[in-house]
């Protein structure tokens, strides 16, 4: 059973556009929702994360929107740049289980 469902699988956006990736989770015990960015040949690296006590977190061009009642969260990349082209993974987890569940990934391509 997929604990975290992520969509879309791939995304192509024009430079300057907004990229939106969505995730949904099942377990209401999760209390930490990170997004990881992975470039080819590298391991994933933390991009931004949110806890369920807030509905939005913004860091530069990257924003997480969190909807606790719907058990959904999304990543918005404003003013998308070719350098943002990477694979993005959402994840969910928390201290209770020490375990993180990852989505299936979204391959983002930003066209110049």
């Amino acid at each position: 059973q997929q604990q975290v469902k992520q969509s879309p699988q791939s995304l192509i956006v024009q430079k300057g556009g907004i990229s939106i990736i969505n995730c949904a989770y099942e377990n209401t015990a999760f209390d930490y929702f990170p997004w990881y960015q992975q470039f080819p040949g590298k391991g994933p690296a933390l991009l931004i994360a949110i806890r369920p006590d807030v509905s939005e977190k913004k860091e530069g061009r990257f924003t997480i929107s969190f909807n606790k009642s719907a058990k959904q969260f999304s990543l918005h990349i404003m003013d998308s740049q070719p350098g943002d082209s990477a694979t993005y993974f959402c994840a969910a987890g928390g201290r209770a289980g020490n375990q993180f569940y990852f989505g299936t990934g979204t391959s983002l391509t930003v066209i110049p």
Partner: protein, 114 residues
């Protein structure tokens, strides 16, 4: 900066071989994890360890074992490699009490089993 080092970037092994994947972290993290990454399936947890000599099964432990004899080192063992274990293997670590629970990943080992 935290560094998680995986011993090999690429490995090619034969079916039935015993395979060792090594991971070392340099930040005194208590938690260490092994994931495998497959296209369309994302990252799936194989095993994790929260202390020396302690281990917990993840979602897909079948066909794998692990060893953690020292805090900084976490090894993944494929007792008898099979072709369906061809994958990218990622090691990660974190500190259970750090505020952001951030996982630090190695660069991965691409294992091909022929």
């Amino acid at each position: 900066d935290v560094k998680v080092t995986q011993s090999s970037r690429y490995l090619v092994k034969r079916t039935g071989e015993k395979v060792f994947l090594e991971c070392v972290q340099d930040m005194d993290h208590e938690n260490m994890f092994w994931y495998r990454q497959d296209p369309g399936l994302g990252l799936r947890l194989i095993y994790f360890s929260y202390d020396v000599k302690m281990k917990e099964k993840g979602d897909i432990p079948e066909g794998y074992s692990v060893s953690r004899e020292k805090k900084e080192r976490f090894s993944l063992i494929l007792e008898s490699a099979s072709t369906n274990q061809t994958s990218m293997y990622l090691c990660a670590s974190n500190h259970p009490r750090q505020a952001d629970e951030k996982l630090f990943f190695g660069s991965g080992t691409q294992l091909s089993v022929l």
